[in-house]
Amino acid sequence: MRHVSPALAIAAVAAACGARAEPLELEQDELKFGFIKLTDMAPLAVAYELGFFEDEGLYVTLEPQANWKVLLDRVITGELDGAHMLAGQPLAATIGFGTAAQVVTAFSMDLNGNAITVSNDVWRALKPHVPVGADGKPLHPIGAEALKPVVESYRESGRPFNMAMVFPVSTHNYELRYWLAAGGIHPGYYSPTDSSGQIGADVLLSVTPPPQMPATLEAGTILGYSVGEPWNQQAVIKGIGVPVITDYEIWKNNPEKVFGVTAEWAEANPNTHLAVIKALIRAAMWLDERDNANRREAVAMLARSEYVGADAAVIANSMTGTFEYERGDERPVPDFNVFFRYFATYPYYSDAVWYLTQMRRWGQIPEGKPDDWYAATAKAVYRPDIYLKAARLLVDEGLASESDFPWTSDGYREPTNDFIDGLGYDGRKPNAYLESLAIGLKGDDTASSNTLVTAQ
């Protein structure tokens, strides 16, 4: 019996806003959420700092986690009630790649926000292969074609070309692989017996936790990495590397982090879940309000040691609509971090399906699956129904407007070809999409330790 007072608190807030909604009866009001030190955890920090959680009667503790694996395991064991997750994590957990568990998401935390950085040496070798624009600066976006001769020269001299991403099922892994493959460089396959993901690889990819990326690059263990902010701008400012491309340029407005909870938790705490999603939607709206007007304030919040903790200047570099590539080469990327516009927080099935196609493409899903399997898996993990319920409550309370949410969507975005290689993607036809990708498993292909077996 813990629910009465928070419910009344919500009612009081709602009354103050001129509308009165039915108060939610919370099953639980003391919650602990995990996050990784990345700028895209911002909705959680904002919801806490601006009191959006408390407005819902929620008493939330935010706790940074050591790495993505620890974070997921602690959500599964119940030490954390929910967490800032990689979009691939709930999907992979549900289909049993890595730790198996039913994890769901009803809130997509942001779009874009990652980049690929290479070491200064690699940049020097790569730069001559990049076309130059009229202003004398390198022409963006830079394709992996420019990296190819560098990778080849490493191979000729017998040195491995190592790059890092943050987790096997991370957006960063798939973006890095997409970019490399689009430029004709093979990033390697996974197989049930070989989880290194390096079968047949031209570039060897491995896992490094985001905050350690700059230090690992500096140590020379890796030659480049794909990671979220502020760790690319950190490399620029510390002078240890150069970001070559943002994920916005690889796939315009690609879905990134999600807020994940276990299916069991969502089942047991439906009203608490709604209250959390409401607070997060308000935080996301605040972050994008009036053309990113609140971003400076958000940067100051994130720079505190209990959140991201990096220097405010580093965080501000990417959070306020610009992105610095080479030292001094700062370019506008207004949509580098998108938290709310373009319906960013709605959990689209088509986004889930894209991640599943990439898992299949690189062998994390070892066998071919029919199109309806992709749709069913997406539906089991992504929960727009919960999202829209929370949105409806906000609209009724006068805290959001009707036009902020895609009420009539069937969960699939319009087919798009906003990729660096211009290929089209339609979430309803995953197998056709896999066929269209030059490098990657398709149909009934399987990857085994030494060779790629192409099905007849």
């Binding site: 007072s5 608190a9 706790e63 602690r74 240890i240």
Partner: protein, 340 residues
């Protein structure tokens, strides 16, 4: 007077303030020149060495350029220590505001419905540096006490019986050198599997860290207890036999008192090991103590991070030193009474 000084002398030395002795002696009227020489050695040399260390540190640190800026010198570390204290104060006032807001809400709830059930929820903000120090101390003592409860009885058994000793000796020798980093994944998985409760009294990360401390720190106590018991004067044991003392009386009246000095030597070593191991355990188990502080700051990678980590390094060192002194004082007191 001088006999009094001679009597407190060992205790002062133990507390690390042996330099008080020459001052006391001078006050008591001893020849100043000899006492000044003594004072210079007892106090002057350590202070000079410390100053030299600070100077070398300041000079060397400025030359080491990392990607997070130059390695912080003593003044940067001192500034960061004060900063942490200020953050502690700021966080405490945020906590007061949190409770005030909650009180208002609860009052409103009561106004609207006098029967409303209101609860006070714990503050949800971040733990401050001071909180983290106390978490670490709590964890290390939990692990240490658990280890003691296992190691002392087992050590007594091994000391009394050559058979038991032969049985456990190989195991002890194999398990003793294992690093906490190797134990931790196993402990984590076992704790997750075994410690299941809807409303747990302790955080899993706390239990994991404490048990890792136990596993790494019980060995010195076990070995020293066994040694202490095995080397008890045979005459004493024979007295017990002649008097036909029953087994518990023999253990509590003869064995334990005689073995106490070595048991405490073991405990002191164990606490030292436990404190050292704890930091590593907390880093990986994410127990919110000093280890997690260091890890989080490393992850932050801001221009203050290194200075903050160095504050933690000194905190860990000073606390470790104090723990050792406390155990040494207890050990000395026990040895003294045992020898009486």
């Amino acid at each position: 007077m001088s006999t009094l000084i001679a009597r407190v002398n060992p205790y002062l030395a133990m507390l690390g303030v042996g330099w008080l002795v020459p001052i006391l002696k001078m006050a008591a009227g001893d020849s100043p020149s000899a006492q000044l020489r003594e004072l210079a050695r007892e106090l002057g040399v350590p202070v000079a060495a410390m100053l030299l260390f600070l100077a070398v540190w300041a000079a060397v640190a400025a030359r080491i350029e990392t990607s997070l800026g130059a390695l912080p010198g003593p003044s940067a570390v001192w500034a960061e220590a004060r900063n942490l204290a200020a953050e502690h104060a700021a966080e405490r006032s945020r906590r007061a505001e949190f409770y005030a807001r909650q009180d208002t809400r609860n009052a409103e709830a009561r106004a609207e419905n006098p029967n409303a059930e209101v609860r006070v929820r714990r503050y949800t903000g971040k733990p401050t540096y001071l909180d983290q120090i106390f978490t670490s101390l709590k964890t290390v003592f939990t692990g240490f006490v658990l280890g003691m409860l296992v190691a002392v009885p087992l050590g007594v058994l091994a000391g009394l019986s050559k058979t038991v000793n032969a049985a456990i000796n190989p195991l002890v020798q194999i398990l003793k050198p294992v690093s906490p980093l190797a134990w931790l994944p196993i402990v984590t998985m076992v704790v997750s599997a075994v410690y299941v409760s809807a409303d747990p009294l302790f955080e899993k990360s706390f239990i994991t860290s404490a048990i890792t401390v136990t596993l790494c720190s019980l060995w010195p106590t076990l070995i020293n207890t066994a040694l202490g018991v095995a080397t008890i004067d045979k005459d004493l044991m024979n007295v017990g036999r002649v008097l036909k003392l029953n087994w518990p009386t023999q253990v509590f009246k003869i064995v334990l008192p005689s073995a106490l000095p070595l048991i405490f030597t073991g405990l002191r070593l164990s606490l030292g090991v436990g404190w050292m191991v704890l930091i590593a355990a907390e880093m990986l188990a994410q127990n919110p103590g000093l280890g997690k502080f260091v890890w989080d700051e490393f992850q932050n990678g801001s221009s203050e991070s290194l200075a903050r980590i160095l504050v933690a390094v000194f905190t860990i060192g000073i606390i470790g030193f104090l723990l050792d002194r406390i155990m040494l004082a207890i050990q000395a007191a026990v040895t003294h009474s045992a020898n009486r």
